[in-house]
């Protein structure tokens, strides 16, 4: 075996894996963002707010707790990008897009569930993020984050 071949393979295999995970991950991400937009446009008629009391002019006929949750994990590529950020600092935009997708997806799931049950608005909305598995740098466990959207769904007489 040529002398350069062995280091080339040892470094090349993770690099090839990186590029493959980038290609797959970014295709999935683009598709997800597209679908998020479509669903957001479809459900934009439903008011979603953080106010704790319904506005005075609303005639509320029923209410219920609604939730929507998403668990997301990193891919190899995003972990690599974020790892480089450990050296230099700065915006970890690889994580920003991931969490943005998770927040929007969680809100949409909450709204869609409320809509299916006949509710017209959700107030007192909160977003919570919690780590559900330790960071997987050493290959133990998978780094995962849950984003939970919750609120009070209202039935309105009108």
């Amino acid at each position: 075996m040529e002398a350069w071949l062995d280091p080339a393979l040892r470094l090349g295999a993770p690099l090839a894996f990186l590029l493959v995970t980038y290609a797959i991950g970014s295709a999935i991400e683009r598709r997800h963002f597209r679908l998020l937009r479509v669903r957001e446009v479809r459900s934009r008629h439903m008011p979603v707010a953080t106010i704790l009391e319904p506005p005075a002019d609303w005639e509320v006929t029923g209410s219920a707790l609604v939730t929507g949750s998403v668990v997301v994990s990193l891919d190899y590529w995003k972990r690599f990008l974020a790892g480089l950020r450990l050296l230099f600092g700065g915006r970890v935009s690889a994580y920003e897009t991931l969490l943005e997708r998770a927040r929007r997806e969680a809100l949409l799931r909450m709204k869609e569930r409320a809509h299916e049950a006949g509710y017209r608005a959700v107030i007192g909305v909160r977003l919570e993020t919690s780590q559900i598995a330790p960071n997987g740098r050493q290959g133990k466990g998978t780094a995962g984050v849950e984003v939970l959207a919750s609120g009070t769904a209202l039935k309105l007489a009108r």
Partner: protein
Amino acid sequence: MTFDPRLPHEDGGAPRAHPLAEAAWLVAGAAVAGVLLTALAIGVADVASRWLPATVEARLFGGAFAPEGDHPRAPAARDVLARLAAHWPENPYAFRLSVTDLDAPNAFALPGGLVVVTRGLLEQVESENELAFVLGHEIGHFAGRDHLQALGRALVLSLGLQALLGFAGVDADVPAVASRLAERGYGRGQERAADRFGLALVAAEYGHVAGADAFFARLPDAEARFGRRAAAWFATHPVTATRIERLRAHAAERGWRADGPLTPLRGAGSAETSGTSGDGPEWGHRPGTGKRSHQASTSARSASRAPASSRRDSAS
């Protein structure tokens, strides 16, 4: 109360660079930082390896590495090694020799004064003089502190790569990569200096340098016989016609006799030893100069300084 049915911001409200562009900048930055750090660390490793006293080296590595493997010819080889080392006045090492069970002929200098030779080498040398030059060459690496430099660089490269790739979360087999990179061999200057040092020891021991390069002259045969595995020698030691020519020219320059009786190597083995250098390759002739061991050993002393000056051209 009216609600403004706005859609959420895309991109979290802040535009971001293309991920590949971001990665390219980060990797380039890491590469620049890595190169600078590695260059600094290699400098530190080189200086440290030159100044690490042999006594400390022996304490650090005395018991490390291979146990003494054996071969019928090993006692004779140890004897040759001891006799050659006696011609190096400043020798701080208590040399040990161990045999490793490989077909490919090769020899290595390891920290702590351990010379490792392969079984293939012991079986393929046809006279004591041939073996003496190979062992003298390895002693030359000790004299130039080349063996420590290679180890220090491997260590430093390993640490540097580990820090960079580890941070980035890439699971590469870092120590293996680093040692592969570092074992690309010694620099050409180091090899040349070790050759001269070894040749001076041979001249001092035998009073002539006949047979010293016979082993290299035969190597292409060995490669044909053992296939690609014998190429291991080529990977760590340059064997070229130029090298042999340079050795002969150096011997002629120093006035070392190119002919003389070859000493048979003790111990069971298939190789036959011949009485004179008549059937071996000829060294460059400078008849009648008749320099003897006293001068040869002073040359060994001056050659020991050579690696220090030529160490710089060994960027690996």
